[in-house]
């Protein structure tokens, strides 16, 4: 499934909103999450999961081909952790 298919489905399900309006809403949701992560915030969506940023320290790596040392700057990587109720539901575990 893709975002556009999801937008179609929601448009069919919800009364009184056009496809265009649903599209704007869905885009606003993901854009606002993207903005929060770009600011370095974590996101907690109850019943769904959390998005967290982890700091990776700068390190010296080697180019495997030439053996040359290169400095890798510190960076942030994104992690998603599924929420427990959702994980349980996926695995047929009663709460």
């Amino acid at each position: 499934m893709t975002k556009s298919v999801m937008i179609e489905k929601i448009t069919e399900k919800v009364e009184g909103l056009t496809r265009k309006q649903v599209e704007t809403i869905v885009n606003t949701i993901f854009d606002s999450m993207k903005d929060a992560l770009a600011r370095g915030e974590k996101i907690e969506i109850r019943g769904f999961g959390n998005f967290r940023l982890k700091e990776r320290a700068a390190k010296t790596a080697r180019n495997p081909r030439t053996g040359e040392k290169v400095q890798v700057p510190s960076k942030r990587v994104l992690h998603f952790r599924v929420g427990k109720p959702f994980h349980n539901a996926l695995n047929g575990i009663a709460e």
Binding site: V14, I25, M33, K34, I43, F86
Partner: protein
């Protein structure tokens, strides 16, 4: 950021009444959940892809007691951020 902040953003930027914004945000996350429950992955362009992977049973060990326990087969959700999101975050 919590779900309430996401709702607030939809309320402010789209101008949808707060209760409707709340409802739509719930519907979006519910539909992602339903898709994943059905075993299908979902790609949100510009954000990332959520997918479900099946894990086989394996033997784990309680590191404290060294006791071996079977880790039951399970389904896990993985998220792969889009290049655009990774770029924005780093």
């Amino acid at each position: 950021m919590t779900k309430a902040d996401v709702v607030n953003n939809v309320f402010e930027k789209v101008g949808l009444p707060r209760n409707e914004a709340q409802e739509l945000v719930e519907i979006v996350f519910e539909s992602i959940k339903h898709t994943l429950m059905a075993g299908e992955s979902i790609k949100i362009s510009g954000f990332g892809t959520f997918s479900v992977r099946k894990k086989n049973a394996r033997i784990g060990r309680n590191p404290k007691t060294k006791q071996e326990v079977e880790i039951t087969p399970r389904r896990v959700v993985t998220f792969k951020a889009s290049d655009q999101l990774k770029e924005g975050v780093k």
